[in-house]
């Protein structure tokens, strides 16, 4: 097996060999007896459902069953019954981390530790945190009986008077809370990268190199596999136009457009965008993604927008958008002509309260309109 950098561990895909043995090592290093059983499941959703089921009471199981019925078509794991025992997350993960952090802090001092963190976990964490947050939200959406990525749509719809299903939201919240009990496996890479040379973390590190989220209990460990596919854009955000950006072997998937969770099929609509389609999109966030993709200048040209005001600084455009603040742009002509003698124009979006081009240009420099008086411009 090739050794992956922590950056690669965080985004690795496919089943990892030897996850069970690595989990057993983590228990031993924590001074615990090995779990009697290790259950391997295909996704963090399957893991969360199993963990909620095994640790929940009759009521929890009944509502989980309902959620499973509602989401027919989504594969849900068969898992043996039996008492898994108490969670040993504190002993397996939190304790060893805290000891490693204290040792590093004692050795490096406050400044040295801050520096170590800045060049290891601090660099990796923002990207991984986004992914972890998106997965948690998707698991909660599943529990609430919503299609993954549609939570924001429902929120918009609710704002218009639709009654939300409070019971379903509670089920979603219950599953989301279960995800907080997970050890994050490959998504612990940012933290583990800061303790790369620490003693007593070998098992945790080996699990992270081989598996996704996992739930350690006294007698049972629930381990889940990494995604089968993960697509990122050049900024490291989940993104894919022609399918889910993240997908697991059991069909659990995240659709995302440059990091923004979107409903399935959203990417496909981006190829045939028209100003009418953009205007008709009721969800403001999705509409912004559409506008950005389509190009605001092109939107202005093709939607038949009329300029509202112009002066020597430029031209002000305004387009009303349903359920969202207006799109207000100043069109500015570059003062220095291009080599071919033409002047390049460009558009800058300004706040919706701007009424005059000069006011807009002044805002782009943080000034009040009256204070913007350049005596020379090039």
């Amino acid at each position: 097996m090739t050794t992956l950098t922590w950056e690669r561990v965080a985004v690795a895909t496919g089943p990892g060999e030897g996850a069970e043995e690595a989990v057993r090592q983590a228990y031993r290093e924590a001074g615990l007896a090995e779990p009697e059983r290790v259950l391997v499941l295909p996704s963090p959703l399957a893991g969360a459902v199993a963990a909620a089921w095994l640790t929940g009471d009759e009521q929890v199981r009944a509502s989980l069953e309902q959620a499973i019925v509602k989401q027919n078509g989504t594969a849900v794991p068969a898992h043996g019954g039996g008492d898994p025992g108490r969670s040993v997350r504190e002993a397996v993960r939190t304790g060893p981390w805290e000891r490693a952090r204290a040792a590093a802090y004692a050795e490096l001092g406050p400044g040295g530790w801050a520096e170590r963190w800045a060049e290891t976990g601090g660099r990796l964490w923002p990207q991984v945190e986004r992914l972890v947050g998106d997965l948690r939200r998707a698991i909660a959406d599943w529990g609430a009986g919503r299609a993954v990525g549609s939570g924001r749509d429902s929120a918009v719809a609710a704002g218009r008077g639709r009654i939300t299903d409070l019971g379903a939201d509670q089920d979603g919240e219950r599953l989301r809370r279960v995800t907080l009990d997970a050890v994050l496996g490959q998504h612990d890479a940012p933290w583990l990268s800061a303790f790369d040379d620490a003693d007593g973390l070998g098992g945790l590190m080996r699990v992270a190199e081989r598996a996704g989220w996992w739930w350690p209990y006294e007698r049972l460990a629930i381990v889940t596999e990494r995604p089968v596919e993960l697509h990122l854009d050049d900024l490291g955000r989940p993104h894919r136009a022609d399918g889910p950006a993240v997908s697991y072997a059991d069909g659990f998937a995240l659709h995302a457009w440059h990091g923004m969770p979107v409903p399935p099929g959203f990417g496909a609509t981006m190829t045939g965008l028209t100003p009418e389609r953009i205007r008709a999109e009721p969800n403001a966030e999705l509409r912004r993604a559409m506008l950005e993709h389509f190009g605001i200048e092109r939107y202005l040209a093709e939607s038949g927008a009329e300029p509202v005001q112009s002066d020597e600084t430029g031209v002000l455009w305004r387009i009303e958008l349903p359920d969202d603040e207006a799109l207000v742009m100043v069109e500015v002509v570059n003062s220095t002509p291009e080599p071919d003698g033409t002047s390049r124009t460009y558009f800058l979006r300004v706040p919706p309260w701007v009424r005059r081009a000069r006011e807009g240009v002044a805002w782009t420099f943080g000034l009040a309109e009256a204070d913007y008086r350049p005596e020379r411009e090039t």
Binding site: T336, V350, F365, L367, Y372, P374, R376, T378
Partner: protein, 98 residues
């Protein structure tokens, strides 16, 4: 005040400049770089004497603001604040770089 593309240079009284600022280093060509372009590698720069620290520019002998795509601007001696142009993003804003 003077504008070169996405940069605004605003004269300020010396008393308004915070004390104890550390001067920014010059680039490999010995220039004070006021702002880098995002994609082009072009930049707004002052080739002559002066100091730049935390957005405040001091030109004790005056100077010349140059950029690959814009005409140069002569600046009288004095203190200036350097303002980057920004763009509105709902809920926030982002800096413009040409």
């Amino acid at each position: 005040m003077y504008r070169q593309g996405d940069i605004l240079i605003v004269p300020v009284p010396e008393e308004s400049v915070p004390g104890g600022l550390r001067p920014a280093p010059r680039d490999a060509r010995g220039r004070l770089v006021l702002a880098h372009g995002e994609a082009t590698g072009h930049c707004h720069a002052i080739p002559g004497p002066g100091t730049l620290s935390r957005g405040f520019l001091h030109l004790p002998e005056g100077g010349r603001l140059v950029h690959e795509e814009h005409a140069a601007i002569s600046l009288p001696k004095g203190w200036y604040r350097v303002v980057r142009q920004r763009e509105y993003v709902p809920g926030s804003y982002r800096v413009v770089a040409d």
